[in-house]
Amino acid sequence: MISRAFRGAAPATVVGLGGLLFWELSLLIINPEGFVLPAPSGIIAAFFDNFEEIWVASRNTGFIVITGLVGGVALGVLWALLVSRFRLANETLTPLAISLNAIPIIALAPIFNAWYGLLSPVSNQAIVVILVFFPVFINTTKGLTDVGATEIELMRSYAASSWQVARTVRIPNAMPFFFTALKIASSLAVIGAIVAEYFGGRQDALGPLIVQNAGLTRYTEAWAAVLAGSVMGIVLFVASGIFERVSMPWKPDAETIGA
């Protein structure tokens, strides 16, 4: 299974290394001064040069991300369980959630800052919670309700209670949907936290770090901080994937795109 994982990672590794090489070489050839997109070698160097600063900033942003993620997931799953129980609730609330999700949530950041104060972490956490809530709620509800007719008829033939149906059918059926949402939500959480930090919050966090460095035209340092944010998003994504594998041992090694 390990060797299969390596073989699976081969194309991505090749493309990645090739891309990095191309980037580095093309910059060596062109070599403009103060170029806005610096060479990977420069970014990695700046990353390690400013490591303490970036690490502290990452920790602060990470705190917002994790607390927001946990809150949003909990709310999303709880509401999904509630709504899936009552068909009327599902038919009214789920389309409502889809419509509400069309609102640019980040626009609420200044209002939350007014409510909780510029320096409070709660305003940023609230943004992340809302960003995470919607995909988790919508997808998990779909998973809980999108059960085959045969399976439901079978459970009715067993005179099973709604709770038994939820436990033995709906919840296991919902798990792939939940994990898809978790992956989407984790990158949204990171970006949301960083963008919200632009509006307010601690100054020693990734968002302000990026913006300040870019403002001082210290682009390499800015990109190093961007890299930290990106790494955080990727780590959360991979962690979700591992969590998924552990929770669903029955899943065959199917393609991840789709289903």
């Binding site: 007014a114 409070s120 960083i194």
Partner: protein, 308 residues
């Protein structure tokens, strides 16, 4: 008989849409009531001189500065925010919304073309798809706040060879495009691949070229999937436009307006609220347009929209 059933289905669909709009309106009313109710509750606490430690920390403070009354917010739309003109706030918001919409539409267009292009390239070989997809996913973890100023500077310096003037808001479109291409590419490839294998074999038996198969079979098959992506992408394009404006310092759109009213909050809190409501409306209009387009296109082809 069949026509009657179709008519019955259409009325059911209309009834469903009306019900959804109704639910939304009810939601807004409940929201306004809850807002006002919470304010009254906070006011009563103030009058009774008691303190709730949660207020100010987890729950917002209820004074008129932090939470302007709903009536103030609504009336603010008609007030002129500028001293020297009579133009009401609503007009400013509408203009800014159009400005942002223009960026979003352009970005959406770029993103769709680019996303479809990627999907077609990835379609070629599973190896390429497996190699590139992780980077596409990673690309979406790069925060916009970082990209925007960089793209704007790049746009204003490196693009002077173009036959027309490259303005800053066009750079913001690129940012909107950046958020748009990903869902379009991902759903695009699923949609292109969703073509019936039997139909694919049929095309091969006609010795159809790859391009013919793409255009005549795979692209049409991908349409429902693309519309599902367009809905996500429409919202993403607007968010990208607003955040791009804000972090790139571009004037004229909703982003700038939000920033201005946020910085001048104490002299008119309702203005910020009104502008945010305007931004929310823009998002809803965008989704509404895409959904309407989806309904028209798919019902013509007698297909069902894909649930997201």
């Amino acid at each position: 008989m069949a026509r009657e059933i179709r008519r019955h289905e259409r009325t059911e669909a209309t009834r469903r849409t009306l019900r959804r709009i109704g639910v939304f309106v009810v939601f807004l009313v409940i929201l306004a009531l809850a807002y006002t109710g919470y304010k009254a509750f906070g006011q009563s606490l103030d009058d009774a001189q008691t303190d709730w430690p949660m207020i100010g920390r987890v729950l917002p403070r209820t004074d008129d500065l932090t939470m302007p009354p709903v009536s103030d917010i609504i009336s603010e739309f008609t007030q002129p925010p500028q001293r020297n003109s009579d133009k009401p706030l609503a007009a400013f918001i509408a203009e800014a919304a159009l400005f942002t919409m223009r960026e979003a539409v352009l970005g959406f267009a770029f993103g769709v073309i680019f996303g479809l292009g990627i999907a077609v390239v990835l379609l070629r070989s599973k190896w390429i798809e497996q190699g590139v997809t992780p980077y596409l996913v990673a690309s979406q973890t790069v925060p916009l706040v970082a990209i925007a100023p960089i793209v704007i500077i790049w746009g204003s310096t490196s693009l002077d060879w173009l036959p027309f003037e490259w303005t800053n808001w066009m750079s913001v479109s690129l940012i909107a495009a950046y958020l748009t291409f990903f869902p379009v590419a991902m759903n695009g490839i699923r949609g292109l691949r969703s073509a019936d294998p039997a139909a694919m074999e049929l095309m091969r038996s006609y010795a159809a070229t790859r391009r013919q198969t793409l255009v005549k079979l795979q692209l049409p098959a991908s349409v429902p999937y693309l519309f599902a992506a367009f809905k996500i992408a429409a919202t993403a394009a607007i968010v990208g436009a607003i955040v791009g404006e804000i972090s790139g310092g571009v004037r004229g759109g909703l982003g700038r307006l939000i920033l201005d009213f946020a910085s001048r909050y104490t002299t008119g809190p309702s203005r910020l609220y009104a502008t945010v409501i305007g931004a929310a409306l823009l998002g809803l209009i965008a989704i509404g347009l895409v959904t309407a387009a989806e309904y028209l296109v798919l019902s013509k082809r007698k297909e069902e929209p894909l649930a997201l």
